[in-house]
């Protein structure tokens, strides 16, 4: 029983990170109807931004410290938000009216470009992410032990989710986002500039991916340029599981994938870990292709 709870906590931490990445997929899909394949690599770039920023921030703020870690997090998010907007501008925007397959292939190209340029620039060998948070003692609750980093991951994710919910539901730009996702032409007629909204969506999604990258690196401090591939794919599966285009669904999907994966590697076999997400994907697409919280869409001619 205790072990199960312990595994659930581990799974929740992993799931929170996947949920943050999944939100980026689902937001872009909601508005542009395409899978931003390069999203997992923004996650990787977030971790690397933190890696290169940390020594510079250490000259201004003490590291490891809460303020310093916050600075690393926020600046990495800003860097990746800029990158996300830039990628959309250069690679995806010229293709807006082209077939979906063209955009998908471009996205795969961007993804490979980021990965292998990353290998070229950062080096292929894994790097050790610096300690940016003071590790306070492991807390015990009965027989359970909480790693301080896991608490940080879960609470930062929760805060970011609330912030995102506020932006999407309570602000003007959030309303515009929902409008564009509902019907781009009608939104444009109502005075919403879809280009601005799409850029904003990419900025928001990339910032969340960067946050996920930093949280991942705090939890598992070995980073390399190909680290984004698997978490990216699993997060995509999470988005599909929750119902793509649906924000609470993405968060839910992330948690489910994270917990299932941790439980399977804890109780069954850790070597099959990486196949779990894909098995879930095939299953969900067979049983309920619209996802847990998604609405069924009928294709109209």
């Amino acid at each position: 029983m205790n072990e199960l709870l312990q595994q659930l906590i581990n799974g929740l931490a992993l799931g929170s990170i996947l949920a943050l990445i999944a939100l980026g997929y689902t937001m872009v899909y909601g508005i542009l109807r395409f899978i931003n394949f390069a999203h997992g690599d923004i996650f990787m770039l977030g971790a690397f931004a933190g890696f290169y920023l940390a020594p510079r921030i250490a000259t201004v703020l003490p590291l490891p410290s809460v303020a310093g870690a916050l600075a690393v997090l926020v600046i990495s998010m800003a860097v990746c938000a800029t990158l996300g907007v830039l990628i959309e501008r250069l690679a995806y925007r010229p293709l807006r009216k082209r077939p979906k397959l063209t955009v998908l292939i471009t996205a795969i190209g961007v993804s490979l470009f980021l990965e292998y340029t990353g290998q070229f620039v950062f080096g292929a060998a894994p790097k050790k992410f610096p300690e940016i948070l003071p590790g306070f003692a492991v807390m015990h609750l009965g027989h359970l032990s909480f790693n301080s980093n896991q608490i940080v991951v879960i609470s930062v994710t929760l805060l970011l989710l609330l912030a995102l919910r506020f932006i999407v539901l309570k602000t003007r730009i959030g309303m515009a986002m929902r409008a564009v996702s509902f019907n781009p032409e009608a939104a444009a007629l109502m005075g919403v500039n879809p280009d601005v909204i799409i850029s904003f969506t990419f900025a928001l999604g990339s910032a969340l991916a960067a946050a996920a990258g930093i949280l991942w690196a705090i939890n598992y401090p070995s980073i390399d340029p190909l680290m984004g591939i698997l978490p990216g794919l699993k997060a995509f599966v999470a988005a599909v599981l929750g119902g793509i285009g649906n924000l609470p669904g993405a968060a839910l999907g992330g948690i489910i994938i994270g917990v299932t994966e941790t439980l399977v590697s804890g109780y069954l076999s850790s070597t099959y870990r990486d196949a779990i997400a894909f098995a879930i994907l095939i299953l969900i697409l067979l049983v309920k292709p619209s996802g847990l919280l998604g609405k069924k869409e009928v294709e109209k001619v």
């Binding site: 063209t102 470009f113 794919l233 070597t271």
Partner: protein
């Protein structure tokens, strides 16, 4: 491809492959292996073109089918010791066929449940399927798991690679040029309209998938008996991407273009490797070593993909007008 000459080209290539294989001992082994690679890439790219090009689906798991074929055929031939030429070639043919059938079965297994999906979903599912195969192979102790599997016999030769390359091209070309095969293009052009005309899109998609997977399995068998060593990691996502790049570069649904692209993209890394071997080119400053060029293959692929999609989505070698 001009279909009238297809049979002549088929028989000609097989005969040429046979003749060339008689003189194989005079060819520098380095080039011999590059020729094998080219033949295998042609089989892979042309069969993938049936799925991604003609039928308009998007499979990112072609290397997974290749893995199934490679391991199946290797497990079969590893049962045998030294054999005379005729027995060896007979066994090899059976093993290749078995590998192809096993891959086709895998294609059927993935195809039936998933081909109701469209475009990007299908891409991710096939990708996921490729990864599942890799993970399973990594856990199967009978085939060496992550340590890899040694293949005893190096039976792949020019006859088999180019003969089977020609057969693949011929089968795919006859299939899409047949009355039945028009259905693939109909599904590619407009699934809903094709359905309204009485064509069952799912059936066509599954057929394309199974035939494509069959040839990928055969290519896997050729690969296994050329390299003589298999690791699950060798059939990953990146390998699938390489074949996808060949299809896109050649022009989706353009067999001749895809063959050219397969040749070009197999030679490209070798060329880069040679450049990397030279310390510096004459005329370039000596302090700028060229060793880094060899590592940039994937960067070049990615830029090719992005650049092609932005400027020439019909592919590099699409000279005639594309089917509208």
């Amino acid at each position: 491809m001009n279909f009238r000459y297809a049979k002549t080209v088929l028989l000609g290539t097989i005969a040429l492959g046979f003749l060339a294989s008689l003189f194989a001992s005079r060819i520098n082994p380095y080039w011999l292996f590059i020729f094998y690679d080219i033949g295998i890439s042609i089989v892979m790219a042309v069969s993938l073109n049936l799925i991604n090009g003609y039928t308009g689906q998007f499979s990112l798991g072609h290397a997974g089918f290749m893995a199934v074929g490679a391991y199946t055929s290797a497990v079969i031939t590893n049962q045998f010791g030294e054999l005379n030429v005729f027995a060896a070639n007979a066994i090899f043919a059976v093993a290749l066929l078995a590998g192809g059938l096993a891959a086709a079965l895998a294609g059927l297994l993935v195809g039936i449940p998933t081909l109701r999906l469209r475009g990007d979903y299908l891409a991710i599912v096939t990708l996921g399927f490729g990864e599942i195969i890799r993970v399973i192979l990594q856990n199967l102790d009978r085939v060496g798991a992550a340590r890899g599997l040694s293949v005893v016999h190096g039976w792949t030769n020019l006859f088999w690679t180019f003969g089977l390359g020609a057969v693949t091209v011929y089968v795919v070309a006859s299939l899409v040029n047949s009355t039945y095969g028009r259905g693939f293009i109909a599904v590619h052009d407009d699934e809903v309209a094709a359905g309204a005309m009485g064509i069952n899109p799912t059936k066509y998609k599954v057929t394309a998938f199974v035939v494509g997977a069959f040839f990928a399995g055969i290519a896997g068998g050729l690969y296994a008996h050329a390299k003589q060593f298999l690791t699950p990691g060798g059939f990953g996502f990146m390998q699938s991407i390489t074949f996808v790049v060949m299809v896109i570069l050649g022009g989706m649904g353009n067999t001749v273009g895809v063959i050219l692209a397969a040749i070009l993209l197999t030679l490209l890394p070798e060329g880069l490797r040679m450049l990397a071997g030279i310390d510096h080119l004459p005329g370039l400053a000596a302090e700028r070593p060229l060793g880094w060029i060899g590592d940039t293959r994937m960067i070049i692929y990615s830029l090719l993909l992005i650049g092609l999609m932005l400027t020439r989505p019909q592919g590099l070698f699409a000279f005639r007008q594309q089917r509208k």
